[in-house]
């Protein structure tokens, strides 16, 4: 698709010819409105023909934000769902920041929770302006006007939104518009509200960055070091020059590789593969996976940081007095995100800077990183956000790795030619920013009555945020929160619970991967609870409930999802299925897993999932995220791993980094716990408890306790 008109033009200029109403907030955060978008940061625009456009400050990677944010506007505006569209906001942190962080970006399952009041207020303010405009036009009291599905009515008068936008744009919005009470919601909580992105994604018209083609654009693929931390010594492009469509090859100034330019994607990949390069591996990761695991074990012997409330000595003393101890070591492999759309973006020159076309997860990250690379101010870096073909975290890195590659390649060509950076699947599988390897070593002391007396928990992994610009926020007393979340902050009341942490050091880059630290911590905690229940002959559900204090609101909601999952699955004491529950991203999820096993052949048949995410803005999107989050976990625990041989990644593409298939997918039943609390995350929270629920079911069915992932390592075969 050749892009002639950019979306930024839509927001800035199209009001000139035709009347429109923009409603949003001014830079101080006060509600603002007008007939152009230049003075305010609009969250909603209403055209003279009555079309409403919600402006999404969050990108869409499939998690449903375009539907969710639009629902919030449409609800308070009383808009017609069929006449409200959605567009992505430009990159501008002052206007479109994530209120959970203070910069513009999507992650931590925060899109709906941070926008819930903001978008509703914008919608309510717009409704109020239209009502007052109609009241003035008709000479009636504003209180006499009703609004429904984009139409205003009073006595025998009626008109659609568009008829009042010109007048409404001259009025000042109220400071605090009156919001609906939950019993007045028509769209929030509606089960069958169609997704906004369904049509374009089922006829091939939805635009992803990989679909963007600009006049004069060249394609670039990067020849990277086969080992992380390697740097380019020299290269030879003689063979690449024989490839049809080859244009040029240039060394990246940061030593990270060679930019290979071509007339199309296929030529770029082939020419890149034909480059001969010499690398300096003196600072590279040169180890095998086994050696890296041994290094984790060495680090576990003496934790560098204390992340728990109890000292290791106190935990040790409590365990020493125990009648019985349960010990286990858990090993987690590196994992790639492998979104279906391989990483890519387009960069082009503008009059005073550059413009990216990108399925952009972190616009502020990109502006920060690119401003340094190209010597520009962040405001000179425009970003046109398009649909992202999945991310699972990969499209936001603290370094903005792939956008920086594109910018360097663009700079090397003289900053005049639009450049499209393309990654192959092999680039993606071997491209790092993995969920890091993680090791947990645990010792738990039980009293003669089965009560937990002490819990020594040691974690070793490579910190994700230490050393990045986010360190100040996420690292306290040496502890990277993302290394220990789900253990150090467990909702279970555990006496003498010590959490030791050591940082693994490697040039292999690591990153948040759908549910971040919870990807491994939940597996450990929920497997351990199952082991404790078995060893003390208690029901796993009852054991969990006994560790929760219902006087505490968070623990009470945890108990709520546990009971809901138990009841929906018809769980009975002695049940031979798998149970797990976990709290993450302010959401509680419990899972009952059913598997069948014949010898070492296992099939996951069904998952019963209970979720408490506060108000479910779009219940069907919540269900979809439970299905998807569970599937993502299943894929990982069954058979995903990235391994190293002499520092080189052994996997390369889907044949050896196998995606979940339709044949692997269990039936899934989801119950959303009714709630009047503020909405919380849904994109990630189903992932953490699904793996251990399946592991516990596998144990119940086979007697095999799997503590090293993926499960295929234990000889299981998923059929």
């Amino acid at each position: 698709m050749t892009m002639q008109v950019s979306r930024r033009g839509f927001l800035k200029t199209s009001a000139a010819a035709v009347a429109a109403l923009y409603v949003g907030f001014d830079p101080r955060g006060a509600l603002a409105a007008g007939d152009t978008a230049t003075e305010i940061n609009p969250f909603v625009r209403i055209d003279a023909d009555g079309t409403v456009t919600a402006v999404a400050k969050h990108f869409e990677m499939g998690q449903g934000t375009t539907t969710g944010l639009t629902t919030l506007i449409a609800e308070e505006l009383d808009a017609d769902w069929n006449r409200i569209e959605v567009d992505f906001a430009p990159a501008d942190a002052a206007r479109y920041k994530n209120l959970a962080w203070g910069s513009q970006g999507t992650g931590g399952s925060s899109a709906i929770s941070n926008s819930f009041m903001q978008y509703r207020e914008a919608g309510a303010a717009a409704r109020d302006l239209l009502v007052r405009a109609a009241a003035a036009e008709w000479g009636v009291d504003a209180a006499a006007i009703t609004v429904s599905e984009g139409v205003l009515r009073a006595a025998n008068r009626e008109g659609h939104f568009g008829q009042f936008v010109a007048r409404a744009a001259t009025l000042a919005p109220v400071e605090k518009p009156v919001l609906k009470s939950p019993d007045q919601f028509k769209l929030i909580g509606k089960l069958d509200l169609p997704r906004k992105d369904s049509a374009g994604k089922t006829d091939g018209s939805a635009v992803f960055a990989i679909d963007v083609k600009l006049p004069g654009m060249v394609y670039v693929a990067i020849k990277r070091s086969p080992r992380f931390g390697g740097s380019l010594k020299s290269f030879d492009a003689a063979q690449a020059k024989q490839v049809g469509g080859y244009l040029d090859a240039k060394a990246l100034p940061n030593g990270a590789g060679v930019a290979v330019y071509a007339h199309n994607t296929w030529s770029a990949f082939r020419a890149r593969d034909a480059i001969e390069a010499e690398w300096d591996f003196s600072a590279a990761e040169n180890r095998d996976t086994d050696a890296m695991l041994q290094a984790h074990r060495e680090l576990a012997k003496a934790p560098q940081f204390n992340a728990g409330k109890t000292t290791p000595a106190d935990a040790e003393a409590a365990i020493a007095a125990a009648a019985e101890t349960v010990e286990a070591e858990f090993v987690f492999p590196y994992l790639a995100h492998a979104p279906m759309e391989p990483l890519n973006c387009v960069i082009e020159p503008t009059a005073n800077g550059v413009r990216f076309h990108d399925g952009c997860q972190g616009p502020s990250f990109v502006q920060g990183a690119i401003s340094k690379v190209l010597g520009l101010e962040p405001a000179q870096i425009e970003i046109v956000t398009v649909y992202a073909g999945g991310s699972f975290g990969r499209r936001a890195t603290p370094t903005s790795d792939y956008q920086v590659e594109a910018a360097l390649a663009f700079d090397l060509l003289g900053r005049k030619t639009p450049v499209k950076l393309v990654w192959s699947r092999e680039d993606d599988i071997r491209g790092g920013y993995y969920r890091g390897m993680a090791l947990h070593q645990t010792r738990i002391g039980l009293g003669g009555d089965g009560r937990i007396l002490g819990w020594d928990h040691r974690i070793v992994t490579r910190p994700i945020l230490k050393g990045t610009f986010m360190e100040g926020y996420f690292v306290k007393n040496g502890v990277d929160k993302t290394s220990v979340e789900g253990v150090a902050d467990t909702l279970y009341r555990l006496p003498a619970h010590a959490v030791g942490l050591s940082d693994f050091d490697s040039p292999v880059t690591t990153l948040w991967w759908r549910s971040v630290g919870h990807t491994h911590s939940a597996y450990v905690m929920e497997s351990l609870l199952d082991m404790l229940a078995r060893s003390s002959d208690r029901d796993p559900v009852e054991l969990r409930l006994s560790l929760l204090d219902r006087g505490d609101p968070q623990q009470s909601r945890m108990a709520g999802v546990i009971e809901t999952a138990r009841d929906m699955a018809g769980w009975k004491p002695g049940d031979r299925r798998g149970f797990a529950a976990h709290f993450s991203f302010n959401t509680w999820v419990a899972v009952v897993a059913e598997v069948t096993a014949q010898g070492n052949k296992v099939h996951v048949d069904k998952l019963h999932i209970a979720v408490d995410c506060g108000i479910a803005v779009n219940p069907d999107v919540v269900v979809a995220q439970m299905e998807g989050g569970a599937g993502y976990a299943l894929n990982a625990v069954m058979r995903e791993e990235i391994t190293f041989r002499n520092g080189e990644v052994e996997q390369s593409n889907f044949p050896d980094y196998q995606p979940l298939r339709i044949t692997d997918m269990p039936q899934i039943e989801v119950v959303i716990v009714p709630s009047a609390e503020a909405p919380s995350g849904v994109g990630e929270p189903a992932t953490p408890p699904t793996g251990p629920a399946v592991a516990n079911a596998v144990f119940a069915a086979t007697g095999i306790r799997i503590t090293e992932l993926p499960m295929t390592k234990a000889g299981l075969q998923f059929v």
């Binding site: 089922t202 091939g204 469509g245 759309e341 299905e627 599937g631 995606p659 979940l660």
Partner: protein, 153 residues
Amino acid sequence: MKFTLNINGSPREVDAEPGTPLLWVIRDELELTGTKFGCGVAACGACTVHYNGTPIRSCSFPVDAAVGNQITTIEGLEGKVAEAVQAAWRERDVVQCGYCQSGQIMSAVGLLSTNTSPSDSDIDNAMGGNACRCATYVRIRDAVKLAAGKLEA
């Protein structure tokens, strides 16, 4: 080298290196971008198009072999089966990121064009090569069955 292809019912002349995968001709030259690149080795199905009505992986199919045959992409889908499948996909809100869904739909249309009442195992066989990292499989299966029902009705 010049090739004349029949794409979505129209003759299209393209200039490509012999052996270029049909996918890249469709996407980069003809700018029909609904067909997606996922793996390049026929392991994910994102690039699925129809070759004389049968689903193939265009990433591993040389442009040379397409000459003289009818190639249909998601943009050129038409007819009762396609309409039923696309309507079912929307009714069930199957999509998440959506990137694989053109390929999923092409495979589903291929299946239902020859079998209007597929069993679960027929669905497994026809759809097993189409990967979805968002794991929309529960809904894909439902939507295939829903579309089959629409065609029978």
